[in-house]
Point group: C2
């Protein structure tokens, strides 16, 4: 390995203990709080299981939404498209304690009955709370997905097609929302002929 | 609200309990296993704390990398750029049990000494293991970030600039890697004038 030479060409600098920018998927987390739909924009989100399918989201403990998730033991993960950027950003700027966000979107419910989903969002995952991990300033909510709601127009060959969904991502450090670019390669395939 | 009309225009279908495609940020998780650097591609990743900064990653229990993280109580999160797609995909296709992946990248270590990082990656976060959450088929590793290594050329106004980093995302259902698109709006700002 040409380690020493490459190192000299690429001197690393340490920005310190910091959450670095990476493309954080912007989601809207829905929960009923005091019987009313409330929505919070959240980008600290990931899949966390396949069988059964699960998701995890880290939410600051101060959020109104957290109470609702614990009360009902249900929540939703709604994937907004680019044309919902301003509405989604609004849900991150304004707390449900101060503003009634139940009218921002057209709300619908699924089989869990207490996880509010958003008609305007191309994809909605309805989740049953599995556990809450106390993680200091944040709580990690792990949920089992019970329904994945979408529309025919967002599918290609029966799979959700992100070029049709048009999701957007957050860059944390410079506070920018980014669109999705072009597809570049096939996963679990592109590396087949790679020679280390 | 025009709920009933909108509903008719946008009939929802339920794909069943399923992790829906969303832009999953592709990372390479580094850990020493038996004293040797090992790397695994992982897209079930999120930030999980700001003070102190934390990350969380969900890894299938069968992975070789998990053992190393538990052994050393350290790991790294490396953000590859588009030009590392084939190498990253290779790290997801081939298990560290069968192949020695220590030579795939130019490896360097930081202050934790046992969290291997990747010179070729524009951004590397060095993490101290905080907790492991047993989550069925997957384990969620929560780590505290101790260093964020990058290079001057990836910064704009001292912040990591994703247009320079060129990260890529995974669409799970159709198994595609996507590039980052254009910036669309300012976060914590775009919604300022939104009227619900």
């Amino acid at each position: 390995m040409s380690s020493s030479m490459e190192r000299k060409e690429k001197p690393k600098i340490d920005l310190g203990p910091k959450v670095a920018s990476y493309p954080m998927p912007v989601t809207i987390i829905g929960a009923n709080v005091n019987g009313k739909a409330n929505f919070l924009v959240a980008a600290w989100f990931m899949a966390a299981g396949i069988s059964p399918p699960k998701v995890a989201v880290a939410l600051n403990k101060t959020h109104h939404t957290n109470r609702g998730i614990k009360e009902n033991k249900t929540f939703s993960v709604c994937i907004p498209s680019e044309d919902l950027i301003t509405a989604a950003d609004y849900c991150g700027l304004v707390s449900g304690v101060k503003a009634d966000k139940s009218g921002v979107f057209d709300v619908f419910y699924g089989k869990l009955e207490t996880a509010p989903m958003i008609s305007e969002c191309p994809v909605n995952m309805e989740c049953k709370l599995e556990r809450v991990v106390d993680n200091g300033g944040h709580e990690i909510f792990v949920g089992e997905i019970v329904s994945t709601m979408t529309e025919e127009k967002y599918l290609t060959d029966r799979a959700i097609d992100l070029k049709k969904v048009k999701p957007f991502m957050l860059s944390l450090n410079d506070r920018l929302y980014y669109a999705l670019g072009d597809s570049k390669a096939k996963a679990w395939s592109a590396g087949n002929n790679f020679k280390p």
